[in-house]
Amino acid sequence: MQKIGVFVCWCGSNIAATVDVKKVAEVLKAEPGVVISENYQYMCSENGQALIRNAIKEHGLTGVVVCSCSPRMHEATFRKTCESAGLNPYMVEIANIREQCSWIHKDIEEATEKAIILGRSAIAKLKLNAPLTSGESAVVKRALVIGGGIAGIQSALDIAEAGFEVDIVEQSPTIGGNMAKLDKTFPTLDCAACILTPKMVDCAQNEKIDIMTFSEIESVKGFVGNFKVQIRRKARFVDEKKCTGCGECMQKCPSKKGLNDFNMGLNTRPAIYIPFAQAIPNVAIIDPEQCLKIKNGKCGLCAMKCNVNAIDYTQKDEIIEREYGAIVVATGYKPISLENFNEYGYSSYKDVVTSLELERLMNAAGPSDGHLVRPSDHKEPKVITFIQCVGSRDTSGCGKPYCSKICCMYTAKHAMLIREKYPDTEVHVFYIDVRTPGKNYDEFFRRAVEQYGVDYIKGMVGKVYEENGKLMVQGSDLINNEQVVIPSDLVVLAAAIEPNPSVRNIATMVTASIDTNNFLTEAHAKLRPVESPTAGIFLSGVCQGPKDIPETVSQASACAAKVIGLLAKDKLKCNACVSHSDEMLCTGCSVCANVCPYGAITYVDKEFRLGGGKTEVRRVATVNDAVCQGCGACTVACPSGAMDLKGFSNKQIMAEVDAICKR
């Protein structure tokens, strides 16, 4: 005989304002099998939980239904409560009467009726629940960090600091990411290289950290604590272990016309190159598209000049496989392509540049050695006009609907640095809103205006055109209600940022969810901001949403703390709601194994008795409980209905549906 307890939560006024909670408790009390039905203001509070614990002991409850918020919020809480009172945690069902009821309805009568139906459906399911126990699996004490920008670097350093091994996989030839390209950083104006390169060197020297640059993730299998990852180490045609980074090869290479990616294509580099002076690893790489030896076999100068025989023109991609307990995604961002913004003339005029290009033009290690000249004729610009929100806050389909968050501050920084170094330069900034929340941020922006005399114009630019060798920037000055035209020598576009395109593929491989803008989704926007909803996957930096360096570093460390918390455990409790096959129904068709994203299903040949002394050997599916995550894909795919999920069996789901339909 079942003894079920029903506990209806008010959630303050969140539920109680729209649902008559007392009536819900009263009506559900009359359901067969229900022995106690209570309502309380905050069921998740200590007092609320005590109410449940006491009821379990007093009435000897065999199951508990909590009518409250989403199970994503408090299912774990109530399972723990029941477990502490001696009830199997899987004998708890949550009826979601907040997100799926009170928050989306206005009419009290209707919402109350729906809450009762949801409660009945949970009771119907609970009656078919069976106590479940979860197994345990070991944790591989090593973390993978995908992306070697400041986010990945900080996460890796913190994880290594705690004593765990970390691999950084970076797709470009060096770690450092976008931050390595920056000149100065706001709001303190310290040079990016001065604060970043020591961290890069720390990574290289830390014996717990293994850096794999020019490498990509090929595949990810497994689950939290036990990921198996294949990494493609792309051929760089230089032996990383032998190369000393002397740079002799770069001097001798006759094919010097490659665009220098690190300088945003503003100058050229040889076919064999080291991305920049402080690159980690400080190892050369050959661009096979440009190398004369690889293309047509004629040259080989670099191999001749190399003292340590590091050059290998025949090097091939190599795929290695490693195991990890946790994966940090830190894939970062890139500025958007400006092909949809012809009005600003980016592709027509050389002297219309992006802000990241300006960083290189101002950087001492950049193409002009830090002397700010315009790209077309290498003359010093006397009038510079900045245009903000290029492609940000754009819902027309040309750009991105979100605010890129970093542009207001870096534009103020650029304007200020230019006025400081070249005081005779006129600087104008077209803006829609100046958004500077953050410690010392608004003060920084005001300094650009008040101390450095930067001309901020409220309004957007309509078009940029050339006239008599000047770039004419035509836009609105909304405060003065005028249309203005500013003849400029250099135009700088604050292009929106978007997640690195590689993140889509990676998200698919690790089964992390992603939003419409390709930002990775957090497990909870406020309370679990560095975890993906997929267990064991953590988010660091801009891959989760636009953020500046201080915020990225904070998030990267938070992410590391979560990883350390996971790796510190020796065993993880497995999911108890796993699937299993009914061997009498299984035909061994392999459909379930093909759809299983975790590789949890294998096949065995098993002998079955047919009666009359005869036996038959059949191929049937078996599920590895430690690997199965209970996603249910196999139960849907199985053509013979042999696959079923513990805790979410077909019978239980049909019982829920019946309870909803029954009046």
Binding site: E343, C389, R393, D394, T395, S396, G397, C398, G399, I432, K458, G459, M460, V461, G462, K463, Q474, G475, S476, L478, N481, Q483
Partner: protein, 128 residues
């Protein structure tokens, strides 16, 4: 007709949601007829949202707007200032009465001096 009803009609005919405007002024930054307008393209969007239809109906801009739709093309928020101007202009003409253009009469009106924008604008009117 009541003022609010005119505002409603103009909003409906323009097919644009003025609340989407983020007041960046790109429309007026781009407008080639800006200096011949007493009320600027971005102000049309703002005034219609505030229900100030009288000002708009008396505006000289109704007749200086080139209907080039540059503002529509460039708006980052998918707001269409030219459509608002067009809808107000239409309302003024309708209230005058007897000024409807018949589709059949259009070919006879075309000569080489008519700007293409005018034709585009005219066909937009006929489509409604």
């Amino acid at each position: 007709m009541e003022k609010n009803e005119i505002v409603r009609l103009v909003k409906e005919r323009s097919g644009t949601d003025a609340r989407k405007c983020m007041k960046c002024g790109k429309c007026s930054g781009r407008c080639p007829a800006y200096h011949d307008m007493d009320i600027k393209p971005h102000q049309f969007v703002s005034y219609i949202e505030k229900g100030e239809i009288d000002k708009l109906m008396q505006s000289k801009s109704l007749y200086t707007c080139l209907s080039c739709f540059a503002c529509v093309e460039r708006c980052p928020r998918g707001v269409a200032p030219a459509n608002v101007i067009e809808a107000v202009r239409q309302e003024v003409i309708r209230q005058q009465g007897g000024n409807k253009i018949m589709a059949e009469t259009v070919p006879s009106m075309i000569d080489e001096t008519i700007p293409q924008q005018l034709l585009v604008s005219m066909f937009r009117k006929l489509n409604k």
